[in-house]
Symmetry: C2
Subunit: 427 residues, 2 copies
């Protein structure tokens, strides 16, 4: 079978990308997307996806974290699937490409295989990973982390996670009918390898005028949930020198997070969420919670930047000397992930064959992805396509239809390339 | 009638204070109180209060803002009521005295008058003012402000105010059955004068070892709703120098609010509430809202401190130079309120007669009160009793049973003193 001749239907892919978004979770802007994990919108797209996959001959399994595995059988016995995974959930005001492109392209690959009656050696799987964004239930790449068994937050702890309305994740899974029985564990539900097509979410491909990124690693990330405490009081009657204002102290710490990233130039550091115990303008806040997100090329650099940040925190607490304090309530992270040479090679060969060497570059991912977790337990690589102006997690996120189709074609070629290698027992 | 002989039942007052709190809105701490305005807890205490007042011969009116006027008739025709007003709503984690003492003491006064068959010249009214705290619907002392017609937020605007779940205040009033038909306007539903017993909510009485404060004025206050805007982006892929992080800028502004209050020494300034558009740790915040609360002795000092604060804001925006910006979305306030000499005199005479000159001090209120608004349209004064450690808006708020009873007794004496003066046409 000559994989070079097999084409994905780019028009259908692009039409489906837009129509499923405008049907389920469209923002008022008409461009962005809001599909928080395990909401009604997520159920709708999941139900649709499962039906589509079944209609083209896939067997569908749902695991304990709601991850959907749609598997198209291969000819070989005893071979695990070659997987194409990503996610369908978005940020509260996200775009229509982050994650979604990877799943829709995987569906398009399955459709091409089905319509062209291609028999593969290994089974070929599409995976929709649950709660990649961590936007509803805190903990990004949560379900692929559980599956890999390498995350510091195991199944039961994830199930117990609550959204801002105190809904437990396990209840949310049950509520939409996606609390499956398949073990969420790579040992019992394993993969031959994992490929993921994703938008870059950064400006590099566009700036370098390249069409495709061959992703070789994912940078190291760490999150810290911080609690700042002070003493509640009346905003009119408590003299300034008698105050222990948790919000003022938190404000200084948040500024220090940013300043530490600048001062060390080791990576990036962000506070994306904050909440204050009080909800009254007339009360001095006694408690504030926020989450720090630190990302650097290596684990050691994350460690260095964290240390610098918390030293700055200690200085601020010492300066304030008013009884306010902070503590790290929880920390979790994703260590630096180095992708597998065999998978990187499959992506590289496929990309170059589509657009030529000059249009392809190797790169590191600065965003986290489910592939970072899969890479800990099975060979993995990713394909990046350009993001307009590097914008992501924003309704303005955009990748051209041409690049979406190109990515899907490379995903198809990569899967067939890898399958052929397995069949020929090259590895 | 010798008012000196008429006694309130202090034990009953203190029992009622605690039992109504532990029945409706008790915090888990066992001491504090959570009765946000117009909630089920508020409906329960209102229903109870109305029934109690009716059982002792009061006529009850509810106005368009849900203010309850329970009026015990007097002998004079054409006299407006001498009012004893305060509020039953609390902060989300408030105490059992702030506002509540004033209403319960007023009820105790009415009970004493009833049980002793006292005939007054003027009608005597108890008032429960709606949403004094502004903790559920933003805008403290909201309903007394509407009644006075001097607030910058009139009836319709108050009705349109939303709580954090987007419930409109008018619907909340209707929901609990307290959207009355009596005009919320002092011209159509007027008062002879207004007295309010309240805890000090500050440390002065305790520090000076006094039992009673005769309140002569309320300090000036102003609130500013601030919106900070930046640009949303991915926390992993957006380089530090390309960021317009609204939360970092907001953090610097909040710190500047505190610093301005210290630098100018003109008064106090607080940010009690903050909310961030994003709810994802992986997104750079594009929008943050917060409210500044500024309080000084005079309107001019509030103006000076505001000017200093916003000049500091402008400096920060200029330093950041990253595209983040702020704007004042709304400002509202309560100008300095000078109480009426006749009312101050009634409180002074009654207080001294109870505890002697050495235990009484004249003072300014540093917290806002409904009395500040009533003072704009009818003679007003307040009675303060000590707050343990000056703590308020906190479950640790405490005023001793002795001081609660003393306050109620002085409230009774004050009302009778004022009534006698009116009767003798002294004024």
């Amino acid at each position: 079978m000559a994989s070079e001749q097999l084409k994905v239907n780019g028009d259908r892919l692009n039409t489906t990308l837009q129509s499923t978004c405008s049907r389920w979770g469209a923002l008022a802007t008409g461009t962005g997307m809001c599909r928080l994990t395990l909401t009604q919108e997520d159920k709708d797209i999941r139900d649709w996806l499962v039906a589509e996959c079944k209609s083209i001959g896939c067997e569908v399994k749902v695991d304990q974290m709601g991850n959907i595995f749609a598997v198209r059988p291969g000819t070989a016995k005893n071979r695990k699937p070659i997987a194409m995974g990503s996610h369908m959930d978005t940020q509260p005001a996200g775009g229509r490409y982050d994650g979604i492109l990877g799943v829709q392209a995987a569906l398009e690959v399955l459709r091409s295989l089905h319509e062209n009656h291609i028999e593969t050696h290994c089974p070929i799987a599409l995976i929709d990973w649950t709660n990649e964004e961590g936007a509803r239930f805190p903990g990004a790449m949560m379900a692929s982390g559980v599956w890999s068994t390498k995350s510091s937050t195991p199944l039961e702890a994830c199930w117990a996670t609550q959204d801002k309305d105190k809904v437990h994740m396990k209840d949310a899974l049950q509520e939409i009918g996606y609390l499956g029985e398949t073990p969420c564990n790579h040992r019992e539900n394993g993969l031959e390898c994992h490929f993921e097509l994703h938008i870059e979410q950064g400006p590099i491909l566009e700036k370098e005028d390249k069409s495709v990124g061959v992703v070789t690693s994912v940078q190291s990330m760490k999150w810290f949930a911080i609690r700042v405490e002070g003493v509640e009081g009346h905003s009119g009657t408590t003299p300034m020198p008698s105050r222990a204002d948790a919000l003022v102290t938190a404000s200084r710490l948040i500024t220090a997070v940013r300043d530490s990233a600048f001062q060390t130039a080791l990576g990036v550091a962000t506070v994306g969420v904050i909440s204050c115990d009080t909800s009254s303008q007339a009360t001095i806040p006694a408690g504030v919670n926020f989450i720090i997100d630190i990302r650097c090329s290596t684990d050691a650099m994350v460690e260095q930047l964290s240390t610098h940040t918390f030293a700055a925190f200690d200085d601020i607490i010492a300066q304030e000397k008013n009884g306010t304090s902070y503590r790290i309530e929880r920390s979790w992270g994703l260590p630096e992930s180095i992708f597998h040479p065999r998978c990187i090679e499959a992506v590289r060969v496929s990309a170059i064959s589509q657009v030529g060497k000059g249009q392809v570059m190797e790169m590191k991912s600065r965003a986290g992805h489910d592939s970072a977790w899969t890479s800990k337990v099975c060979p993995t690589s990713m394909i990046f396509v350009p993001s307009k102006d590097g914008i992501s997690h924003n309704p303005g996120e955009y990748t051209s239809p041409t690049h979406c189709s190109l990515g899907a074609q490379i995903l198809l070629d990569t899967v067939l390339h890898y399958d052929a290698k397995v069949k020929s027992e090259d590895f």
